[in-house]
Symmetry: C2
Subunit: 337 residues, 2 copies
């Protein structure tokens, strides 16, 4: 127990070696492949490590072995909880192979995606997952296998793309609402690639059904306030609206606020459905209908492609869509109008 150890230099592999009476490389061996070392020495090394409070230096390991067993994940904002499932998926598929995930957020608003990937790259990540909307043309994928997760406007050349099929999700929502007898449906959209695909899928099915297309907030943000504003606009301009589809759950919350402000009860007078199946939607109190984009599965798939491409860098970047799942809860109901 190095509890009262004078705060001296941290012990190195050499200190351990000396203390255990073996060579440094033997210590290294114990760390990597203990079975190749005799029982006796192994124990000697281990007790030495424990006594000294030894902890390997990742920097040295990285430098010497030129592999970090880690992949980088770039997200844009920790508040967008959708990355959590992605992260779990990644980790579950990666950890059996001894790989870890290193996170970097591209500071919301400041759009520091390039800086974020640079930082990750300088840490020698062996692969890159970009779960943020790139605005500058960036060139990830030049040095390490990269894949973009989530629909984005610009996918850098050389990077793969694995994402939930937002087109399909949008269509599913339209199908659901039409199936409930709604014919006066508003959509709260926003800027960005994900919103665009959800919108397109939704619109195509709506048009197919010969129903009027009502979309608001197409070039606005995707916050609760944006959702509120868009919903208010729709409800004011189309008072006969019986259902609202928000591009994400947060905006759906805004839609609920707008419904309340307009004195409309949900779902009796107005159905509301979000997207992402976030904590918000799952909440017992809100219990919102939503679309689960299976981010966990996306994560697993991303991890597997990355692993494959790390092993064989000649592999072509993949493009793949994961089918989402509609989750019906208590904010959507049969049209009564």
């Amino acid at each position: 127990m190095p509890l009262n150890t004078p705060r001296t230099r941290r012990p190195t592999i050499y200190d351990v070696a000396k203390s255990a009476g073996v060579s440094p490389s033997l210590v290294s061996l114990v760390l990597q492949n203990p079975s190749k070392v005799s029982e006796k020495r192994r124990e000697a090394v281990r007790t030495a490590m424990a006594e000294l409070g030894y902890r390997p230096s990742r920097a040295a390991t990285t430098l010497a072995s030129s592999q970090t067993k880690s992949i980088g994940l770039v997200i844009d904002d920790f508040r967008n909880l959708w990355f959590v499932d992605l992260l779990r998926g990644l980790e579950s598929a990666l950890s059996p192979h001894g790989y870890q995930v290193t996170l970097a957020d591209s500071r919301p608003g400041e759009n520091r995606i390039t800086e974020a990937t640079d930082g990750l790259l300088s840490m020698h990540v062996e692969g890159l997952v970009i779960a943020a909307e790139p605005s500058e043309p960036m060139m990830a994928g030049t040095w390490v296998p990269s894949v973009v997760a989530g629909w984005r406007d610009g996918v850098p050349a050389g990077a793969g793309l694995i994402t939930n099929d937002d087109d399909c999700g949008g269509r599913m929502v339209a199908e659901h609402l039409l199936g409930l007898g709604h014919t006066r449906i508003g959509h709260l959209s926003g800027s960005g690639g994900a919103a665009a695909h959800r919108r397109d899928g939704f619109r195509s099915r709506i048009v197919e059904a010969g129903v009027e297309v009502r979309i608001a907030g197409e070039s606005q943000g995707t916050s609760e306030e944006d959702g509120y504003a868009a919903a208010c606009w729709l409800l004011d301009h189309h008072p006969d609206t019986t259902a609202l589809f928000a591009a994400n759950d947060t905006m759906a919350l805004g839609a609920l606020a707008a419904a309340k402000a307009h004195g409309l009860s949900v779902p009796a007078e107005l159905s509301v459905i979000g997207y992402d199946n976030s904590q918000l939607a799952k909440s017992r109190y809100l219990d919102m209908s939503s679309v689960d984009n299976r981010s966990d599965i996306v994560g697993v798939d991303v991890a597997n492609t990355l692993l494959a491409r790390i092993q064989d860098p000649t592999l072509e970047p993949e493009r793949k869509l994961i089918e989402p799942v509609l989750v019906v809860r208590s904010t959507t109901a049969r049209a009564t109008g």
Copy 2:
């Protein structure tokens, strides 16, 4: 533009040096202190770096300079959004000094705090912020300055503690509700240090006022479901309850669900107040009264102590409380009973 560069070994400082016709150390100098290099060579080095797509290796830098200019932050779950403000506070105080924050989550449930700190330590972080509830006795603070953020049961020896004053916050809530005329108040508590302090502060003020103490869920979790269960229990056993204080906003959401299930309107028949002033509470739709624990300020303070202790390791770990702020919104109102 190394766009079509054959995917070869990443360029090193030696490659840059050769390409620019200078020595490696000169390249290093350009990176650290450009003013010490003549205009001519500086430009030569810079263009060489750009052409080669050079990116310094953090591992090598760390190893050679034995400083990483980074501090580690351990959180327990990315879903507990309270860390976001803390992070912003940390970054805002750290970045002027060139320091960065490295995150590690201790996988919810799995309690891998020790592993998380170990990982961070092996990356040579110069300081450690622990924003998670340690269950095993751990010995952070042995090697690098550490501080625990947020009330916790066990603060490791040698670590500082900077946190929002949850006792005070609990008292403020009691004060607020008493001031609104409530005398039959229930508290939804949970296990863990933070909840305990909020409970104690609340109770002390309630007792002071000579009002009955009603607490539920003291040894349960702190999820929305837990909040729902505790609220139901209270409302069933004390049907005359007019106000509920939840140990956090998520539990407050559960309380709202319970109110709805019991047919009670908020705030007319039942006042509900949470804690943390999270996105949830701030939401336009929910608009919940809550307590802002000023995590951003905690972050700034943590950063400053850490910075000071990194410079002068003999400094004693600090203990400090930040006073929270009551945020009154629309879920609390004057008692009508």
